[in-house]
């Protein structure tokens, strides 16, 4: 007994001395950490395989890609707090802006890659129970008596913030564009650049309607977009789920198409999840070149096709057309044109004391 004790002690001391001697073999392989939000796990698992294979072919070196997924805001915070992410691929521009403000990403990141640095888009649509028993076809149907709406908490979930903006924009009849044509996209870009004042913020009627929805039709508010899908599909709460289009398709595939229908409203928001290189980390770790190649690769035909396959809307119009049966074209409004970008939307709606907090002031 005694002897064993000393042996353990000796072993521990030996380990400690080894730590001190620290003959740290230089890792031969390159590691890259991609910090992303919840629903993209499937996308990046597959894209990583694609990219690692290409990297091996081009350079002969092994690239190990690590993934981290969670609520978008939580992930941004982890990066700010010290998670050494080489690239971030988050749900909304605000979260990357927050990392930028912490001094880790250089300003102007959204211009470094095409299409506002979002290689794929998505939208907000509805998931209803099979046969659509409550007849939910468009935004206004959410207010029907007895309809229960499942969405996540916009304070903590990036997807839910897009839901909130989609609701707000649709109710305020925001100006839409046809994103399935190059011409429509060019119009949208021009309109965003030209937009100056944003009357939607002053729309008290819309705010009252949204307050009514959240107070009287929303029984649970999960912390993340994924959690809200679990509530709807697994806990079988509510009549309609508002979520990312790709998340709805995933739920339909996971739980079986015989259980749910996806419903597209007449208009919705074009959600643009952005990607960026974390400048401070890649400069420190010397991974800038591979990190930039990694993000650029997301615009390659193979990656665009992969995105379409997994129900993200590719930016590449050919890839978009290929998957148009599953990703039907509806008119979209954009956050830049309608709400003047994320910083304005965030501070007005979701910051402490913003409109969302006002909706939920407990009556006392």
């Amino acid at each position: 007994m005694l002897k064993r004790k000393f042996l353990t002690l000796g072993a521990t001391l030996g380990l400690v001395s080894l730590l001190g001697a620290g003959s740290t073999a230089a890792a031969a392989d390159v590691r890259l950490l991609n910090v992303s939000y919840d629903p993209t796990r499937e996308l990046y698992t597959q894209y990583n395989e694609l990219f690692a294979a290409k990297y091996k072919k081009d350079t002969g070196n092994i690239l190990t890609l690590e993934q981290s997924h969670g609520g978008s805001g939580k992930q941004a915070r982890s990066v700010i707090d010290g998670l050494n992410a080489d690239v971030v691929t988050l749900a909304l521009g605000w979260d990357i802006t927050a990392i930028e403000r912490a001094g880790l990403i250089n300003p102007g990141w959204e211009k470094k890659l095409p299409n506002n640095a979002s290689p794929y888009t998505s939208t907000i649509a509805f998931l209803v129970r099979k046969g659509n028993p409550k007849g939910i076809k468009d935004w206004k149907d959410l207010w029907k008596p007895g309809v229960q709406v499942i969405t996540a908490n916009p304070k903590t979930s990036g997807g839910a913030r897009w839901v909130y903006l989609a609701l707000w924009g649709a109710l305020a009849n925001a100006k839409t564009h046809d994103f399935s044509t190059a011409q429509g996209q060019a119009e949208a870009t021009a309109a965003s650049a030209a937009a100056k004042d944003f009357p939607v913020y002053q729309n008290a009627e819309v705010q009252a309607q949204i307050a009514d929805l959240f107070n009287n039709h929303v029984p649970v508010l999960d912390a993340g977009a994924r959690g809200s899908t679990v509530s709807f599909a697994q806990k079988q709460l509510g009549d309609v789920l508002l979520n990312w289009e790709n998340e709805l398709w995933l739920a339909r595939d996971e739980f079986g198409p015989e259980k749910f229908d996806i419903v597209y409203p007449s208009t919705s928001i074009l959600t643009e999840p952005p990607v960026a290189v974390v400048d401070k980390v890649v400069d420190q770790r010397g991974t800038r070149a591979v990190a930039e190649a990694y993000l650029k690769g997301l615009y390659s035909p193979e990656a665009q096709d992969l995105a379409g396959q997994l129900h993200y809307r590719p930016r590449n119009l050919d890839a978009l057309k290929k998957y148009s049966a599953e990703l039907p074209n509806i008119p979209f409004f954009t956050i830049d044109e309608t709400f003047g970008g994320w910083v304005k939307a965030q501070t007005t709606f979701f910051a402490d004391g913003g409109t969302f907090d006002q909706i939920y002031k407990p009556a006392k």
Binding site: G71, G73, K74, A76, R77, I80, A98, N153, K155, T156, V218, P219, V220, L221, D222, A223, G227, S231, Q234, K235, Q236, L237, A351, D352, D357, Y360, K361, P362, K364
Partner: protein, 301 residues
């Protein structure tokens, strides 16, 4: 008890020094960082954050749910301890062993299994439709029609629809061992002679329990109750699997901290953390007070 000749024993500075180092490095310095973080705010800001209606509602929920759970454990824990100590019945030892299970089971697993039990297709949540069909079928055979609406027992999925009841439910689970395990030793030491004496004086059974047994159990019982209560206040892992997370209605206080963190409000998160910590410390002090009172009470008796 350590006596005066203690300086003969070696190792005082070594063990005390090491203990203090370990405590400081791993607990005190981190906790100091928490308090220090709140000094970034002015007092007015601190007050505004910690008394925000939604934050207040989360304290209220945390305390009410923990209190209710501790109360349920207080009542049932007493019955369970009573039955396990005083009666022999088949499976008694097995059920006694089960009591410690909530200590050993990771809270995330507890939350997971509770969440799945009360789903519409879970064992308990799914019982409703089946019971209704059964009852109605039986009534149909007897020619009574169908007395129950098809949805009559859908409330069995209550943890998800009732907002806070699910939270109480898992807190009952995590706090279950406390009351039972504090009361049991007292009941075992209990001398039945007292009861016999009281009965010979003509006291009824309930009076005996109320006037003779319960006062003896009370210090242990209240200490178990307080422990279960304190455990509930900090609980996080099991609750997040089942809570519906509506701000101001079903968000527990630890979740408020996480929410603030996700919103990049470090100082605000630290402020709520400090409040929660202070309250826990007060409860800790109260428990120690109760235990000391009980010990003195015991000695006096």
């Amino acid at each position: 008890m350590a006596g005066s000749p203690s300086r003969v024993i070696p190792g005082f500075s070594l063990t005390l020094g090491y203990s203090l180092f370990y405590l400081s490095a791993l607990v005190l310095i981190p906790l100091a960082a928490l308090v220090l973080k709140t000094t970034e705010m002015s007092f007015a800001q601190f007050w505004a954050v910690t008394t925000d209606p939604i934050v207040l509602a989360s304290y209220q929920l945390t305390f009410t749910a923990s209190f209710l759970a501790a109360l349920i454990n207080g009542v049932f824990g007493l019955i369970v301890a009573w039955a396990l100590v005083r009666y022999q019945f088949p499976g008694g030892r097995f059920f006694d062993a089960l009591i410690d299970f909530p200590f050993a089971l990771p809270t995330a697993v507890a939350g997971l299994t509770y969440a799945s039990l009360y789903l519409k297709d879970g064992w308990i949540g799914g019982l409703g439709p089946r019971l209704v069909t059964g009852v109605n079928g039986l009534a149909g055979l007897l020619g009574l029609g169908a007395p129950l609406e098809p949805t009559a027992l859908d409330w069995l999925t209550f943890p998800f629809t009732g907002g806070t009841t699910g939270i109480v439910l898992v807190l009952v689970f995590v706090g279950l061992p406390f009351v039972v395990r504090t009361v049991q030793p007292v009941l075992i030491e209990w001398d039945p002679e007292y009861e016999t004496a009281a009965r010979s004086l003509g006291a009824g059974r309930f009076t005996i329990f109320r006037r003779v047994i319960f006062p003896e159990l009370f210090p242990a019982w209240i200490s178990g109750f307080a422990l279960a209560f304190a455990r509930g206040i900090g609980e996080y892992g099991s609750v997040i699997f089942i809570a519906s997370n509506i701000p101001g209605k079903s968000q527990i206080a630890p979740l408020q901290i996480v929410t603030k963190l996700d919103d990049f409000q470090y100082a605000a998160a630290a402020a709520i953390g400090v409040v929660l910590l202070s309250i826990s410390l007060l409860i800790l002090l109260a428990i120690n007070g109760v235990e000391q009172y009980a010990r003195r009470h015991e000695r006096a008796a």
